[in-house]
């Protein structure tokens, strides 16, 4: 089990005292399409952008809930990590971006027939949002509309 023990003392203390946002009631949408026929949406939260996109501003009151849409035919190795803080160890990401942006892994699963296909756009966020109001009120509804418009059947979210 992952624990808070390996986090920095400052971040560990912050998280232990933090009041997490309880989801209540819990929404539930049943799977209706077999995964092998599903268009899969991907959400990642490592502050990754394309080289020509505006960098995230994770230092902006720790509340940059903006979204970057990344075409899913993008090579993850060309993405730029704009996360300035050291909330997580970036060495794995530098060695293999699929560790946090698994476009190639999902393509392999698509070619193997395990999923239907990867949706045309990947949603990229900065995950460090201790004040999630803008995420809840603006960005998350935008993401839901995007996936509905892209006729996505199911969504997988990968944290950093």
């Amino acid at each position: 089990m992952a624990t808070m023990n390996k986090l920095s003392p400052e971040l560990r203390t912050f998280l232990q005292l933090y009041k997490w946002h309880e989801i209540d009631p819990i929404p539930w949408a049943a799977k209706t399409t077999p995964l092998s026929q599903s268009r899969v949406g991907l959400v990642v939260t490592a502050c990754m952008t394309m080289a020509d996109q505006t960098p995230f501003d994770a230092g902006r009151d720790e509340n940059d809930a903006s979204i970057r849409y990344i075409p899913s035919d993008t090579d993850p190795r060309t993405l730029v990590n704009t996360y300035p803080a050291q909330a997580f160890d970036h060495s794995g990401l530098q060695a293999d971006p699929d560790l946090l942006v698994p476009i190639n892994r999902l393509r392999e699963m698509e070619y193997a027939g395990e999923i239907g296909e990867l949706a045309p756009r990947v949603v990229s966020l900065c995950g460090h949002l201790p004040k999630p109001r803008a995420l809840i009120e603006e960005s998350a509804p935008d993401i839901a509309r995007l996936f509905a418009g892209d006729r996505v059947d199911t969504v997988i979210c990968v944290p950093a």
Partner: protein
Amino acid sequence: MCNQTVSLVAAEVERAGIPTTVIVFLHEAVQKLRPPRALWVPFDHGYPLGEPNNPELQKSVLRQTFALLDEPGPPPVLKDYVAETASTGTQTG
């Protein structure tokens, strides 16, 4: 904090009628957050799919995350990643 961000996004997407499944790190946080479906992974922050340049491990995590979509509920469906042995493909816990 990413545990909360992916959980809140998943909840909103789920409200739109699209099933979701998320990877998370922290039991303490996710038991309070209560996303619809989540797989706890025994890896450090920055390593949600396990190891760099280990595509089989990465796909194993993805497969177990997707497998939560077959759970009947009720939510939250919260499970731990179970390591697979390379030689047999069986799960060892």
